[in-house]
């Protein structure tokens, strides 16, 4: 009886050793639940990027509601625009464009609806999906951004991937990042350290 069970056990071992294990497939080590994913997506107002091959990327939405451009940019008001504003003092006086030489407002914004963007690839790029518009010229950066080498991921390394839109880091009207003053390492004086 003992011998039989021993042989059976040995056979099991041999069989287990010979049988091919299935290829290991990658699974989320921390098993982010669907609920957690949805919470993160809602928290960042994220929208999925709908580009074939990049189905798992979400882009953070804007924090504030966009202004309604159509309130002023009405076609029927166009004839009076030149009269209402003296030259050089237009409504968007705070925007100066430092982007690729000779660009003006309507290089990117559609004249009839400034919320819509003029894009080489995607004719329907809006301010929310401005990455499509940026990516039509900056192809390398766009590819790196989708892949993960450019731009900032807002969630942890694990689970759903939510990244920043281009215009969150770069001012679209002057995309070069301004110079920064580096911070020094935090220090405490001896008196402050003694308090604890």
């Amino acid at each position: 009886m003992l011998k039989n069970s021993f042989i059976a056990g040995l056979a099991c071992l041999v069989l287990a050793g010979c049988s091919k294990e299935p290829e290991p497939t990658y699974s989320d080590p921390l098993e982010q639940s669907e609920n957690d994913r949805q919470e993160l997506i809602a928290e960042h107002r994220a929208q999925p990027v709908e580009i074939p091959g990049y189905g798992h990327v979400y882009v953070e939405g804007p924090e504030t509601k966009r202004k309604n451009c159509a309130r002023c940019h009405k076609p029927e008001l166009e004839p009076y625009r030149a009269e209402s504003l003296p030259p050089g003092k237009d409504a968007h006086w705070d925007i100066s464009i430092h982007h690729a030489g000779d660009m003006d407002c309507f290089s990117c914004h559609k004249k009839e609806d400034p919320n819509q963007l003029v894009s080489v690839i995607d004719k329907n790029a809006t301010l929310e999906t401005s990455y499509l518009h940026c990516g039509s010229c900056h192809k390398d950066q766009f590819k790196s951004w989708l892949g993960g080498a450019h731009g900032k991921r807002l969630t942890g390394w694990n689970g759903v991937r939510i990244i920043r839109n281009c215009s969150e880091c770069h001012n679209p009207h002057a995309p070069e990042r301004p110079k920064v003053i580096p911070i020094a390492q935090p220090t405490v004086t001896p008196e402050r350290a003694k308090r604890h």
Binding site: Q141, W157, I183
Partner: protein, 329 residues
């Protein structure tokens, strides 16, 4: 001299009584470490009862007892679940007594299917030092000695050696014609520091993080000498952190409070990354020049970078296989 352990020694002098006490402690079955602890414990209680009992408060006594037990605790890797729980409870109590901070110390172990890797974009870093600031705050580093795990070097374009970089720049950044390169512990796959350690106090975890058991470290600094990247830091004095700046979310092998005379280093923020968060430096980086991820996940950002970008590592010829890549656009 009297001791409360029932020493039957016929009213003789103090010296013979302590001898017999030592005999008893050493003959007791158990480990050498246990015997030493019993011996020192007996001596300490004897000393305390004779001299300091009158002035020490209960809390001071408890702290002393905790420190004594800490001195004789076991190696983290051989502790079982219960021993770990007891040790963690002791550290949490110590944090309350010593710093008046309600710390939670976790000991989350490495997850399967995980090997951490890091990538640093030298074209993007603008040298703002926000990573260093976040690291020091997150990891409860000594504020008086300016200890930092991360160093940022301002480098002349075309020069690749950090020895020629300047880490003490103080002007607006980025400067034209310069680039910025950060170094920290690279968590080598073949780490020389762990081989140099005579006590085994530092080792590589299954998820690739090189950690230190601060209570097993004897402070010999061999690992510091063995590390070709100058990544290890030594506590020359008792670390001082203002009470309101102590990060209470701690990990046993990570940012719990260190003591004088032990080694410490970057742990990829083990207390954060084992819970799925990014390290503090990655989160603080304003440019996204720092990328952290799982090397075993084929869809991770770090794998994309390794597959599609020009990457290099420092001192690759040493065969240490650091899991920290530099890349450029």
């Amino acid at each position: 001299m009297k001791d409360d352990k029932g020493n039957k020694c016929g009213g003789c002098s103090g010296c013979s009584s302590s001898d017999s006490f030592a005999d008893m402690a050493l003959k007791k079955k158990g480990s050498r470490r246990g015997a030493l602890a019993a011996l020192l414990g007996g001596a300490a209680t004897a000393a305390a009862s004779s001299a300091t009992a009158a002035i020490a408060t209960d809390e001071e006594k408890e702290l002393k007892r905790i420190k004594r037990n800490e001195f004789f605790q076991k190696y983290y890797r051989v502790m079982d679940e219960d021993e770990r729980a007891v040790t963690i409870k002791r550290f949490e109590r110590k944090s309350k007594l010593q710093y008046d901070v309600d710390a939670t110390i976790d000991d989350t172990s490495a997850r399967p299917n995980t090997l951490f890797g890091y990538a640093f974009n030298i074209s993007k870093c603008e040298g703002s030092r926000k990573c260093i600031d976040a690291c020091i705050t997150e990891n409860n580093q000594d504020r008086t000695s300016n200890m930092a795990y991360i160093k940022l070097f301002e480098m002349e374009e075309g020069i690749g050696s950090v020895h020629e970089g300047d880490s003490e720049y103080s002007h607006e950044t980025p400067v034209d014609g310069k680039y910025y390169m950060g170094t920290q512990c690279f968590h080598c796959e073949n780490p020389p520091c762990t081989k140099a350690c005579p006590t085994g106090a530092t080792w590589k975890e299954p998820d690739g993080i090189v950690v230190v058991d601060y209570n097993w470290c004897i402070g010999c600094r061999y690992c510091e000498a063995a590390c070709p990247y100058f990544a290890r830091r030594f506590n020359w004095k008792e670390p001082e952190v203002p009470k309101d700046e102590i990060n209470p979310y701690q990990h046993y092998l990570g940012n719990r409070m260190r003591t004088k005379g032990v080694m410490e280093k970057c742990t990829f923020c083990i207390q954060r990354t084992r819970k799925g968060l990014n390290p503090a430096c990655v989160e603080a980086c304003p440019t996204g020049a720092r990328v952290f991820g799982n090397l075993l996940d084929p869809d991770s950002e770090i794998r994309w970078i390794l597959a599609n970008k020009k990457v290099f590592r420092l001192k690759e010829d040493l065969g240490t296989e650091p899991k920290f890549w530099y890349y450029m656009d």
